[in-house]
Structure formats: C-alpha cells, structure tokens
Symmetry: C2
C-alpha cells in the first residue's frame, strides 16, 4: 500500500511515471494499470512489502538489505512504507518487529524511531532495531550484557611459586595474575592460556576454574557488566619474556609470600590463599574442573565447570 509520493519516488528510480494527476486512495493506485511500476509496487506493497520472517514467538524480522529498497530511499518514503507494514502486522497479531538495518541505510533507523522502534544492538556493519507490539510489558529478549575477562594463575607445583605481573598502566604497583578480555567466541580456558602467554611469554595449560567476580557499570566499559574469571593453570614452559607495553614486572613469586604481601589486590590475595591450600591439601579441594557436553537440542558443545566428586 504505497502512497503516491512513494510511487513517484519509485518511478523516478525505475524511469516510469504514473500519470494520474490525482490519486485519491492507495487502493486506487494499486488497481491502476501502472504496469511499469507494478512489479516494484507489488514487491513493496501489500503482504510482500518488507517481507519478513516470522518466528515462533509471533515476531517478524525484516532485513532491509534484502528488501529491494532503492539505495537512496528517503527517510520520509521509508517511514510511510513502514507505517503501512506496521498496520498490517498489527492486524495480523504480530507481537514484535525486528528491523535489521545495514549501516548504509541508517537513515531508515531514524525513520523507524518515529514509529517507536529503538536500537536493540549494533555490530560492525548493521544495526538491529526492535518494536514491541504485544500486550503489557515488553517481552523482547535483551542483548549481551557482560564482557568476560579471564585471569590465569600458573602454579609451579615443584617450587610452590605462581606467575605474577605488575601492570604498567596502573598507579599502584600490585602483583596480579596475568589476564584480559575474552575474544568473541573464545572459551574461558583459552583466554587464560592466551593472556598468560601474551603478557609473560610462558606457555601453560588450563586446569580449573577457581573464582568469579561480577561487577556492574564497569568503569570505562560503556556501562556494561563485567564477569572476571580466575583460573588455575599448569606451566608448560618457565622462561619469562614479558610484554613491556602491558607489564612493568613479571616474576615467579612464592605463593606463601603472595598471601601475606601488601603489594597485591584483595582478589589476588584471596586466590593465593586458596592456591596455597590446594598446594598443601590437594587441588581437588578447590578446583572447578571443566567438562564438555553436547547441548540437548542443538548438539552444539558447551563447557560446564563444577566441583568434581570424589568416588566414595
């Protein structure tokens, strides 16, 4: 159901022109033998307009990259097109509309916002906007809320020492375990091993998860939340070759000394005590070990970390 303005815009694109001087109703436009633009009209009108995929929750998703829109469609024209589709989707009882907008068509996001759409998320070359049309409070699923960081405590059981670093960029010179943010799609253990290597030059392998820290409104992290996970690793090599851009110092430090020194952070101190206990009483007392399992429905693998039960 395209308005006349949109028809003429479209015909400017196609080079044909609907010569009715007046076009009293949208239905009339559709019924006219405006053959030149009929194919395009049909593509953008009625049930094919902004064709979307319907999901099992009663929502519809439209990818503007595939919608056959002219690359230079104006905000006004898109707004009118969207309005017509919204009327139809509401009549069909759709509870939500998702609009995937390629960055080059970002002006359509502005147009959509006048109809109540807001940003759901955006990555690289596209944004996704959403509109809740169901009853009551929005039941739209949120997006990612946390970044994940991982620290690795490499314990040399033969010497009772643990690999620690002092951060170059902080004012206080505190001993900490090397660590950093996970890359997208990277497993916890892989992050720990990678960050240890990048910061210290030491190769290691994952043994267990020890502790998790959760913090909201993480400073300097765009108001998102932070999950920081501390792991226990075993060394595969021992020579230190630390990254001078990130670290001021890097050493194998006596675990016992790390539990008592003031030159460390509260977390590092607590984990050091835990590790010392593990060193003395057995790491099975403190470890959460990893098990890889297939997901029930998708068959895709996930990693489960939990205390391992002793056979009894």
């Amino acid at each position: 159901m395209a308005s006349c303005a949109f028809v003429s815009k479209l015909s400017q694109v196609t080079g044909r022109f609907c010569s009715k001087a007046s076009c009293p109703t949208r239905t009339t436009v559709r019924a006219l033998t405006c053959t030149a633009t009929r194919a395009q009209l049909h593509k953008v009108e009625g049930t094919s307009a902004l064709a979307g995929k319907v999901d099992r929750f009663g929502g519809v998703t439209v990818n503007l990259a595939d919608a056959g829109l002219p690359a230079d469609i104006s905000e006004g024209a898109f707004s009118r097109l969207l309005q017509d589709c919204l009327v139809q989707w509401k009549a069909e009882g759709k509870v939500a509309v998702w609009l995937r907008v390629p960055i080059s068509l970002s002006r359509c996001a502005a147009a959509a916002s006048t109809h109540g759409f807001t940003f759901h998320h955006a990555k690289h070359d596209h944004a996704v906007l959403a509109l809740w049309m169901g009853r009551g409070e929005s039941r739209l699923p949120g997006f990612a809320t946390h970044q994940v960081g991982v620290a690795g405590a490499v314990v040399d059981e033969s010497t009772g020492k643990v690999l620690v670093v002092q951060d170059r960029n902080k004012t206080k010179n505190a001993w900490k375990f090397p660590g950093g943010l996970s890359d997208p799609g990277e497993n916890i253990g892989a992050t720990a091993v990678r960050e240890v290597f990048e910061e210290t030059g030491v190769r290691s392998e994952f043994r267990s998860l020890l502790s998790i820290r959760q913090q909201h409104n993480h400073p300097g992290a765009f108001g998102i939340s932070d999950m920081y996970i501390i792991c226990r690793l075993s060394p595969l090599t021992y020579d230190i070759n630390f990254c001078t851009q990130e670290c001021l110092r890097c050493e194998w430090l006596d675990l016992a000394r790390l539990t008592t020194t003031k030159d460390t952070t509260p977390i590092t101190s607590r984990i050091a005590k835990l590790l010392l206990h593990g060193l003395e009483q057995g790491f099975d007392k403190i470890d959460l070990t990893m098990e890889e399992l297939p997901a029930v429905y998708s068959g895709m693998f996930y990693q489960l970390y939990h205390r391992q039960l002793l056979k009894s």
Copy 2:
C-alpha cells in the same frame, strides 16, 4: 574548516548568506568577515568542530547530540565536516575516534561509514561508532559478548528434596531448576531468587554458586555467547504457585531420585549429584560462597565467588 557548500547550508538554517560568489579556499572562508555565520562556523570549524573529549588512550569521543549540528544536516554535509575533523585528528596523532549518534541523526552513521567507521554498539536511543586510526591491528575494546542466565536449585535440607520444574515450551518434558536471564545490572544471586519466585511462587535466599556453563553462538541469541550459572538456594517458603505460562509442572522432588531419573538434562543430573553429596557430606564441600568487596580504584562494590577455606 567548512566548505562553501556547508556554509551555504548553514546559512540557510541561520537565515544569513555569505555573498562571496567564489570561495577559493577554506581558509579564506574562515577569514572573511562573514560575521553572521562566524559563531556557527567557529563552532563547527577548526579545533572546535565536532568538539570531542580526549581519553587517556589517545582516542577522541564526539557526542553528536551536543555538537550543535542542525537537526536536518544532510549526509553529504556531515560527511564533509567529519572528513575535515578526521584530517585534524590524524594530524594530532589520535588513535581512535568514537562517535555517539542519537537515533534521530542516524543518517550521520551512514555518512561516517564511508570514512571507515563501523558500529561498536547501540542501545535504545543511540548508537556508538568507532574508527581505529592507530598503527597495526585495532586495539579498540570490544563490547558486551555474553548474556547471563541463572538457575536456582532450592534445596530443602529437612526433606532432602529440591524444587524443579518442567518447561512448557520445550518438547521433551525434562525436570530442571527454574531459571532465566539476568536483567541488566542484576546480581547472580538476585536473578536466581527472582526467577525461582516468578516460576514457582517459592521465596528463597541465595547460598552459593555451584557451576557455570559457557556456550557460544547460543541459538536464538543473536550470535552472542551465554554464561549460565547454577546456584544453591535455601527456601523461605514452601507452597508452590507456579507460572503456567512458563511451566508445565513444578514439584519438590527427591534429590536422590533426580540423580537417577532419565527425565532430566545432563546438567541438572550432575548438579543433583553434587547437591546430594553436599547434603550428605556438608555443603561446604561443594559451595562457592559470595563475598562483596570494594574495587581498588573506584570503590564500587563487586561480588566475588570462591571456595571458602576451612580454618585449619
């Protein structure tokens, strides 16, 4: 350093007109006694153009909502303005540019993309775009990568039973612990308690963290990763009043039975075994308890989950 086209655009907005028929250089425009538009020019030219905040990493952040741009600035005009600013920022050695774009000015995002900007993230009413200008691989921090879900296992120590539900929306009727996604800013324990109450009507309180599941490319979650955390809770009330929209059934089930039944998921089965061990040998054998601590630099609180050491 606005081009003539931008000056005339701006003067259309302000109602004044620079009458130089030709304007050979940008410097000349700035030097002209075009007093009417000088204030606006100064605001958009030179070092004040798109005034941004510089951060300690050598990046500059510009909020287009505060940049004094005309609300109807065209993509072309913004593109030229941005181009001039980029030249200046590069000359100043800035390594990154962050553009905060209110949704109504989304066409500026399209213009920015032609200069290499990509979406970093977007939420509600604005998007943030970023451009790496430093040497080598981008060192821009990423955005949130994980959603966080929490399940709560409410164990009634007096009866050896645990509160479980069967999901209405799944095809397989498996006993599971009630749970769901954390709200933004919500702590793990709070999510567990809330979800248990919403699904079952039972009030409970957080005791410990037991297990974590990590999965990437979570189906139906926009390609983001998923961290699912299972907690142990203690009941405060016992009467079940379950949410029929989400659950098919809800019961206090014998823990021992949950460890052997086939009508459950691999995770639930494993956690049930862990819980039974805790019931028999003491929950201190399996718990990661929570400690709240102030962050070293900001003083803001975070929550740390770890094995509690027995006094020895």
